[in-house]
Amino acid sequence: MKKFLLCALLGATFSMQSQNTIEKVPQNANAVVSANGENLLELMSVVELDESLLGKSLIPMIQRFSETSTSLADAGINLNASTQYFMQVTDSITYHVVILPVSNSDKLEVFFAGMEGSEIVQEQEFHTFGGEQTAPVMLWTKEYVAFVNGVLNNDYLNKEEVAARYGLEVEEPFSLEAWLAENAEKEPEETTVYPDDTEVEEVEIESVEDVEVAEEVVIEEEVIETIPQDSTAYDYEYDYDYEYEPAEPSENDKIKKQLAAAWSFAKAKEYLRADGKSSILKNKEYRKQIDDKAELSLYMADMSAMMEAFFSGLSGYANLDATMMSDMYKEFSLSNNFYINDKDITVKMTSNFSDEMADMYKKIYDRKLNSDFLNYINEDKAIGYMAFAINTEETLKVYPKLLTKYMPNVPQLDTEVVDIFADLFSLLLDEEAIGDVVKGDALFVFNGIYEEEVTYTTYDYDEDFNYVEVTDTKMEKVPDFLVMASSDDTSLLNRLIAYGVEKHVIENMGGYYEIDTPVDVPFNVYLTIKNGIIFMGNSSESMSQITSGNFVAKVSDAHKDMLTKSKFSAYFNADRMSQELPVEDMSIGEMKMVLYLLENFGELSLETSKVKGNRMEGTYKWTIPAGHENGLKYFFDVIQNMPR
C-alpha cells in the first residue's frame, strides 16, 4: 500500500478533462487538494518526465512488473488528467481519499498485482485486492482509482448509545489528574541505593572571579576502589534477537478495525459511483476560491469541524483543545492556488473569517507601515527584509475579548476566573499609551555581511615561555542589520537611555548609543531615535549616517508597494547572499552545495493585504533565476544538477 502512495504522488503531480476526478469529490469535503495534470504536462511533457531523475528512478519499478514498460504512463494512470486528495469529516469517522484517473486498467492491474503481491477480485464494477479488508482500502473501476483511509473518531464511538449500537465497550477516558494521583501513591517496589562515598562540602560558586583555596587539604586515609584494566564491570550484554510481540488486540479494537474497513469500503464505492450532481463543484465557496487555471490548489472549508476531529482524535485530555480550536476556527476557510509560470512560481492565498473574527482582524491590522522607513533601505545592498504593521492599541484591546470568548469553553477553566483575568489585563494596561510608545509597525532589514575588527585574548611568551595575556585583533565577518519601529511617544525611551548612560550600560556615541546588552550577543548593538522612529542595528556606520541625515536610500516602486501596501511582507535575494557569504571555512563539498543552492534559488517575496470584507489575501512569489524554461522544469533542473 505504501508503494501505491508513491504512485499516487506521481499521479497527484501529473495526472483529462474527459476524466473529471473533481466530480468524485463530495460537495461537503472539508479539504481538497487538486493537481491539474493537463496544465502540468503543458509545462513538462511525459517524455521529459521519463528522462528526469524522478522518471529514471520510478520506471524500473514499473518494469519489475511489466517488462515492456518504458514510460511512467505505462503504469496505467492517466497523467494528463487531474488527481484529487480530499478529506471528509463526519461525526464518527474522517476519510482521507485520493482519486486517480485511469488510462489503461489492464496495465494498472498488472502493476497493482505486482506491487501488492495479492490476487485481484471483482465485485460489481469494482476491483480490489483479495483477502481480508482492512483500512486503508483501495478500489478501482475502468476509469478511476479510489484510495480511502478511514480514521475513526474514538470519542464519538465511546458515547454510550453509539458504543451499544456497535457492540463496543465504553472506555474510560484518560484523566491526567487520576493518572497523577494513582502514580503518586505508588511506592517503588525496590530501590537500589548507591552509597555516596564522597562526602563533599558545598562550594559557593562565584562565576567569573578567581577562586583560590590556599589551605592544604587534609586527606583522610581512604580505600580507593580502582577498576582493573581488564574489568568487565561496565560491559553489558544485550539480547539483540529479542522480538517484540504486540499485545493481542482487544475486542473493541477488533470491532473498530472492522468498522473502519467496512465504512471505508462503502465510501470508496460511493465516491467512485458519484456522478457529479453533488460534487464540490456545486459548492459556491469552492468555485469562488479555486482557480481552474492553477496547476495546484488547496481548499479548506470551515475548519472548525476539521479542528474538532483532529484534536478529539488525540483522545482524552486534548478535548479542551478540540472545543477551543473548533470555536476559534468557526467559519474560517482557506484556499491556496499555485501557479507555475515561465519566470516564477506564485501562490495566492485567501483566508476567510467569520464576521466577528474579521472585525477583530480589521482592528488589529488597522495600521500602515511608516513610509519614512523607506528612507533607510538601500535595495542595492539589502539581501532581505521583513516588515509588519499591526495596531498595538487595538491588539491589546482585542486580546482580553478573545480570552473571554474562547477560554470559558475550556471545561477545566472557571468562567469567572477568565473574566477577572481579562478585566485585570485591560485595567492594568493603558492600551492607548502603549500604542503611542510602540505603534506596531516594524521593519527588519538584512544588509549583508561586512568585516569588523574584533578583539580577543591570547598570550605572549617570553624566551623562557612565561606568558602574559594580551589583547589581539582579527577581522570577523558580521551580519549588518537594521530594525525600525514607529513611536509617537519616545519620552519613556529617552528617559531609559538617559538612565542607561548614567549607569554606564549605554554609551553616547554622538547622536546614537551603544548598548551593553544584558544578554551576550555576538555583535555591538546601537540605538537611536529620529523623527518618531526607533532604530536599532549593529552597524555604527549606518547609525552615524542615520543621525547625520546622510543615509543613502534606494527603493524601487515594486518594493515600495510591497512594503507599504502589505500588513506583512518579506523578501530574500539568495543570489546576493551567495556573493557575500563567507565560504572560506566550509569544506569544498559544503561550499559547492551552499553556493549552488543560493545561486539557483532566485528571489522570494511575500505580501499580505488588509482584511477586505471577511477575507485576507496574500501572495508568495518565487522568482526563478534565468536559464529555466518554467518553474516546474526549474525544480527538476535544480535536483538533477545538484552537486553530489
Binding site: 577562586v211 521583513m386 580577543y456 623562557d464 550577543v521 555576538p522 566550509m586
Partner: protein, 224 residues
C-alpha cells in the same frame, strides 16, 4: 514567528558567518623534589562571537548547548574533586564568559597525584583503561609525558560532520614544562627548549594530535 526568525538568524551566524578556534594550554612546573603545580587553560576567546550566538540557542547541529550555569557547575565539580584528591592543594579556577576562558590549576606533591586524579575521573566516566600522563623518577631525574595514541580517536573524528570538524581546524594544544634544573636531553623534536634550558614548550595543531601526525609524548632528562 519572531522566535523562529531569530533562531534562523542565529543559526546562519553560527553555521556560515562566525569562525571558531580555541587553544588549550597545559603548563606544568616541576620541582626537584617531585612536587609542583599544574595549570590547564581552555581559551576560546577567538570564537567568542560564535559562542555568544551558540549560547543563545538550546541546541546547535544536534548538540545540546550547555548553559553558563551548567558549565560553571562542571568546573566546580572538578574543583571539588580536586580538593579531595590525595596530594593536591591550592586549587584555583576561573571561568570568564566575556572572553570564554576557563582555567583550572593546583599544586601537587608528586605527579602521581595528578595521574590518580585523572584516573578517578576516567573511572567515573566509566571509561576503560589506565590514565597516566606523567612520570618523574626522583633518582634518575627523568620526566615523562605519556600519550598513547588511540586510532579510534581518528576514526571517531572522521565520523563527525564537516561543520563539527571545522571547530578543530585552527585549534592548538600547547604544553609548557618548567624545571628547577636544566634539560639535558628530550625525545620529542617538535618541542622547543628555552634559552635558560629550564623550560620546554610545544604547540601542536589539535587535528595533528587527533590524526596521529604529532604527539605530545616526551621524555625529558634533567641534569642531575
Amino acid at each position: 514567528m519572531r522566535n523562529f526568525t531569530v533562531r534562523i538568524f542565529l543559526i546562519l551566524l553560527i553555521s556560515v558567518v562566525f569562525t571558531s578556534c580555541f587553544e588549550i594550554i597545559e603548563e606544568v612546573t616541576l620541582h626537584e623534589n617531585g612536587s609542583g603545580k599544574i595549570l590547564l587553560t581552555f581559551n576560546a576567546s577567538q570564537s567568542k562571537s560564535k559562542l555568544a550566538s551558540v549560547m543563545l540557542l538550546d541546541s546547535v547541529q544536534g548538540y545540546k548547548v550547555p548553559s553558563k550555569a551548567a558549565i560553571t557547575e562542571e568546573v566546580t565539580y572538578l574543583v571539588k574533586e580536586l580538593k579531595k584528591a590525595n596530594g593536591i592543594s591550592n586549587v584555583t579556577y576561573t571561568v570568564d564568559y566575556d572572553s570564554y576562558i576557563i582555567t583550572l590549576g593546583c599544586n601537587f606533591k608528586q605527579v602521581d597525584n595528578i595521574n590518580s586524579f585523572s584516573q578517578s575521573l576516567w573511572d567515573k566516566q566509566r571509561m576503560k583503561g589506565t590514565f597516566k600522563s606523567y612520570d618523574f623518577n626522583l633518582a634518575s631525574k627523568l620526566f615523562k609525558r605519556h600519550f598513547a595514541y588511540a586510532p579510534k580517536l581518528k576514526k571517531d573524528f572522521n565520523t563527525l560532520k564537516s561543520a563539527d570538524k571545522a571547530v578543530f581546524n585552527n585549534a592548538t594544544y600547547t604544553v609548557i614544562y618548567r624545571f628547577d634544573t636544566e634539560v639535558s636531553t628530550y625525545s620529542n623534536q617538535q618541542a622547543k627548549l628555552s634559552k635558560s634550558k629550564k623550560a620546554m614548550m610545544m604547540r601542536l595543531p589539535i587535528t595533528h594530535i587527533i590524526n596521529g601526525e604529532s604527539s605530545i609524548e616526551n621524555t625529558i632528562q634533567l641534569t642531575k
